[in-house]
Symmetry: C2
Subunit: 444 residues, 2 copies
């Protein structure tokens, strides 16, 4: 009987374990998860903290008990501290008891994920300075809000920061966002950056761009955030300045690391070391637009990788083809989406890139409840190959980014986009869909 | 100076005229439109009749005055009754004055559209028995509702019939729908058929399936609809049993006619007769899934064809690649969408077709306001080539049909769909998008 040990039991690791067991019930699978929870919807945390989702436990997709019913052993609060691959053994520390034990494996899956960057600033270890990644973090923030925190400062204006700005605001806190760059949502391109700023300010969120955080001040508990533009009052700080792969075990195993120190795998999620796979946020992925390795840690990607790894481990043919960099985020009533490359990223990747932004409506011009929708298209000059798109709008309308994501998989052109036969009825868009409007403008 | 005459000034004809003039301002373009309006959003009519859109005139995208400013002459209430192509002349009847006049052309565009079928049943010419196609029809129905009609019977359960069932119901009428087949929305496949029936019945609309209409009864004004299952009271009847191309001029010109008598064109919208183009509902289109000609009259297709014809007439290179048969419709709170072939249509087209339907959610499982979404995928056995999809859900969620529409253009497979990198955040779908769930189930 083949013994599989999976290190990390959230998205990628648990998907790999579940899929492998379903495909080959003879496998003996144990998952070790360092935190107290497996298989949770981390992307839902802001909506628990805002109060929209009543209980944190709602985010749990599976529990160790449920996994046991399916024949997979999942142990929480268990950190794998060492791997002896020559002897195919892991050392595990039970964080509850403090005891250490060993386990054997034939196949190892590294799904160790990523962790938030905690900048080495004065006062960063004060009470009230948080990061958000695991269920425990969300519970801590929930408690801080419940204890009556009045004013939150969010360090970092990427999508997690902005989702949390909305969450704290919905929970009744005053919110300030501090961003080092000259724009919010930098990875979504210039139009979302501008409109997200408008939306936050309209909702009373104080935004400081081009602002460096210098220190956190207070006695035991944070009271002020010192920035390059002065001090901001805070009784709660969320530091959201990016994540880094948990690559310590990978390093110790001597695995090949790529961008940001993420593990390089082949399309079967093999690491190059026999019988060692890696999935999820700890891995680099093949970016189908640039053709290069990239680090784009996202839960849906982790799930898809885990599924493929599970199939491969069970002896099936499967392949993870890579990503095109699709993402979507809600900031109050606004929705921002991106796929492929922004104009800036396309130039940085060496493309002779052109782009255009068109504004249209997400319903027929005469249909009630319509909103503006901005579509940015990015393409390669000359070949007119599509390189990316960004959409800013309201509600579900920007989810049509997926049409461009589908086209990027097939290296389609602007012309291909313009020629699509998309669904039309007045409640869902204009007779020229916003994507077709954008493609036609780009072609002109 | 080249003189262009366009016969028909709604979607296809007006798009051709506008685009040709923009691309080559030296063109002399006259559009003759038989009805009293040009360039109207016919798909918006149900929402005017329901009262959601306050005025019928809101549906007008352009007026003859606006077109004149752009250098295009558009004459309404002018029916082209004859074409003498040897002499390049049309005969036009001014329906207001009853006078007839002639006009010359170098290039002729047939955009004569389609008209509703009016079955030859006893009493079909009674007052109160209507069809809906043109602005005048919508105005008549608006008046009938305003005069206090209490009970509407709709003959035909395709999407127009159901959109009108909603419209009349929203306007406060009692509504009954009579359908000859054993299901509603037949062109959307079995799941939408079933769910549309549920929705209508939940909204108090009386639906009679497998029911033949035999006659309309009343003195001057209709009072009853006699059916194979008894009589239905009515003080307003909408007959919505399909449309036929207005192909009389095309026939007189000896043009090649295809399915349903629609005009066959090449990818440049040429009819085969020199300098004669055809666009819009009067034409057959290349169906990219079956590879055959099909008649799929839709306003957005007409616009895209018109644009291509306009470019070609102006001497540009352009090509209309065809359709995959994408459509979407709202029935009260439900939304139904289709692209490509339904399971039934795929078999009828000679494919060895398989299909599966999966139910998932349009938001993350823990996110408030989520609704069920049903995705049917249709593929070819063996090759796993995607042949079509149908989606039934709520709000904008089924608009993701466009992702499959994009894939059908590129002859993609189930595997391609499963491998897509789609946008995920809890307010917009599960971590496995409903399309990915469906593709994964289909592959298993």
């Amino acid at each position: 009987m083949t013994k599989v040990v999976v290190v990390g039991g959230v998205a990628g690791g648990m998907s790999a374990a579940s899929k492998a067991k379903r495909e080959d019930p003879s496998l003996d699978i144990t998952v070790y998860e360092k935190s107290g929870y497996i298989s949770y919807g981390a992307c839902g945390m802001p909506y628990v903290i805002s109060g929209q989702i009543p209980k944190l436990e709602k985010l749990l997709a599976r529990t160790p008990e449920k996994m046991a019913e399916r024949g997979v052993t999942a142990r929480v609060n268990c950190e794998v501290t060492e791997v002896d691959h020559a002897r195919r053994r892991v050392t595990v520390r039970d964080l509850a008891s403090g005891k250490t034990f060993g386990d054997a494996y034939d196949v190892l899956v590294l799904a160790t994920g990523a962790r938030p960057v905690r900048p080495k600033l004065p006062g960063v270890d004060l009470g009230g300075v948080y990061t958000l990644r695991q269920m425990e973090d969300a519970a801590t923030l929930q408690e801080a809000v419940a204890r009556g925190a009045k004013r939150a400062v969010i360090v970092g204006g990427s999508y997690v920061g902005l989702e949390m700005a909305e969450a704290f605001s919905e929970a009744g806190l005053e919110v300030a966002v501090v961003e080092r760059l000259d724009r919010l949502l930098a990875s979504f391109g210039p139009v979302p950056s501008k409109l997200a700023l408008e939306e936050l300010e309209a909702r009373g969120v104080e935004v400081s761009l081009n602002t460096e955080v210098l220190a956190f001040e207070g006695e035991e508990h944070v009271r002020h955030v010192l920035t390059s533009r002065g001090a901001l009052e805070a009784d709660l700080v969320l530091v959201s300045v990016g994540v880094r792969p948990n690559n310590e075990l990978a390093k110790a195993l001597g695995l090949t690391l790529g961008p940001a120190g993420a593990v390089v795998t082949d399309a079967q999620l093999r690491t190059g070391l026999e019988d060692v796979y890696a999935v999820g946020d700890v891995t680099a992925v093949h970016h189908l637009v640039t053709g290069s390795l990239a680090w784009v840690p996202l839960g849906d990607t982790a799930n898809r990788q885990g599924r493929v790894a599970g199939e491969v481990i069970a002896g099936k043919e499967a392949r993870f083809r890579g990503v095109v960099g699709t993402a979507i985020t809600k900031v109050f009533d606004r929705t921002f989406a991106t796929t492929g490359l922004t104009p800036e990223a396309a130039s940085a990747a060496g493309f002779k890139a052109k782009s255009t932004t068109t504004e249209s409506r997400d319903r027929a011009g005469y249909y009630p409840g319509r909103h503006p929708i901005h579509v940015t298209l990015v393409w390669e000059e000359g070949t007119e190959r599509l390189l990316g798109a960004q959409i800013a709008g309201y509600g579900d309308a920007p989810k049509r980014i997926d049409v461009v994501a589908a086209l990027l998989f097939g290296r389609a052109s602007l012309r291909d986009l313009a020629d699509l036969d998309l669904a039309y009825a007045p409640p869902f868009g204009g007779v020229w869909d916003p994507l077709l409007v954008a493609a036609n403008v780009a072609l002109e």
